[in-house]
């Protein structure tokens, strides 16, 4: 009699493979929902922890405290607004007094100012003198000012006339500021 007869059906390779797969699938099917539950809970808890509701409550409290100082706040804003505007005006303001002083400082003896018209853009000067030399000196000093861009940027001789009655010369000059 042959003793090597095996009555138990042999587990073929495919069967073992399928059993392994089944086990792995079962493990995944158990771990996966647990993992999802943990992740979901963790995310929920973290979200709750960083919830800005408490911060918003503090914000509201601070806003209420600021609102109590509303009067002060408005005054402060008005002061700031006025200062900004005043600064802008003062920065764009032309110093007429200085410009006129600079021009008058160039007048020499023997030359007298007859008329001066000055605005934001130009200055028109009318001067009289008994001597053409004095007028020439004055014009030269103005030319130096133009070259240095000091007060005036250009100089034009508009007219030169002689007043026979007064025996004096009259010149009219215009300059751009």
């Amino acid at each position: 009699m042959n003793n090597n007869i095996n009555l138990i059906l042999p587990k073929d390779k495919e069967f073992v493979e399928r059993q392994k797969k089944g086990k792995a699938l079962n493990t995944i099917a158990i771990v996966f929902p647990i993992l999802i539950g943990i992740i979901s809970l963790a995310v929920f808890l973290i979200t709750q922890a960083i919830n800005p509701t408490a911060i918003r409550r503090q914000q509201d409290e601070t806003i209420n405290e600021i609102a109590k100082l509303q009067d002060k706040k408005i005054k402060f804003f008005i002061v700031k607004d006025r200062l900004g505007n005043i600064d802008s005006i003062l920065k764009n303001r032309i110093n007429f007094a200085e410009n006129i002083n600079n021009l008058l400082s160039k007048t020499i003896s023997g030359v007298s100012l007859v008329n001066l018209d000055i605005d934001n853009k130009q200055v028109v000067l009318t001067l009289s003198s008994l001597s053409l030399k004095s007028l020439d000196e004055f014009i030269n000093s103005l030319i130096v000012m133009v070259e240095k861009k000091d007060t005036i940027r250009s100089l034009r001789l508009d007219s030169l006339t002689f007043n026979e009655k007064e025996n004096e010369y009259l010149i009219s000059l215009s300059s751009s500021l």
Binding site: P33, V43, K72, K75, I89, I100, N101, L113, V114, I118
Partner: protein, 241 residues
């Protein structure tokens, strides 16, 4: 030609029996994937959104606290005085009285005689001029003085409140005329934003405030040093009591 697959109930039963222990885990995994898509992903999105909101709220709270700190640190009396100076320097409307006060006091300080003058006030009832950045009142003043005295006036009026600007000067030997612009600026609600931060006044603006203070005091000290009294001013100023 497409071949037909012939399956009968028996075959399906065999396949089912062969794989039925895979079915439950398979559906569980499928449901889990569905949960990830439907629950976890939105939860994570919400988390990022809430985190961003929390960061913004924290920033805003910090800003508000700083604002409150600045506001609380402001001295009421000093603020009141700053408001008076700045509002006097640049009135919110056509300050007819302030202009004449400035004009007369500057003339007094400069020692010039104000002759005829003319105002271009425009519509007195209209308080807002939207076109101009800085609406102004133009005033032409005639003086019976030479350019030296008038220039002194120009210098002093430039350091007098309310602030003004010279638009033109015309002079001959005996008389002069000066065109001045006195500015005002309507305070519109848009100038004060509801959520605007309360930033302390910068140093250069504080220097400007000091300068404006000097404008006023220089004028008053000029008058005192030249022997003039404030009472004299009051008698000269038609708007004084």
């Amino acid at each position: 030609m497409i071949g037909r697959v012939n399956t009968d109930i028996q075959s399906i039963k065999i396949i089912y029996n062969r794989n039925k222990h895979f079915l439950i885990p398979f559906f569980v995994i499928l449901i889990c994937i569905g949960l990830i898509v439907q629950v976890i992903v939105p939860q994570i999105r919400t988390f990022f959104k809430v985190r961003e909101e929390a960061e913004n709220a924290s920033r805003r709270l910090a800003d508000l606290k700083k604002d409150l700190e600045v506001l609380s640190s402001l001295d009421e009396n000093m603020l009141e005085s700053q408001l008076k100076i700045t509002s006097f320097a640049l009135p919110i409307n056509k300050d007819f009285g302030g202009i004449l006060s400035a004009l007369y006091s500057a003339a007094q300080a400069a020692g010039v005689n104000v002759g005829a003058f003319s105002f271009q006030l425009g519509d007195l009832s209209k308080s807002e001029e939207k076109d101009a950045k800085f609406p102004s009142i133009e005033l032409t003043v005639n003086f019976e003085n030479d350019i030296g005295a008038v220039n002194n006036f120009i210098d002093i009026v430039g350091k007098t409140l309310p602030i003004s600007d010279i638009s033109a000067v015309s002079t001959d030997n005996d008389s002069s005329s000066v065109s001045l612009l006195f500015y005002y600026k309507v305070l519109s609600t848009s100038d004060i934003q509801k959520d605007e931060r309360i930033v302390p006044i910068s140093n250069d603006k504080l220097s400007l405030l000091d300068k404006l203070n000097t404008f006023n005091s220089t004028l008053l000290s000029n008058i005192s040093s030249e022997g003039g009294e404030l009472s004299t001013l009051k008698t000269t100023n038609p708007f004084a009591d």
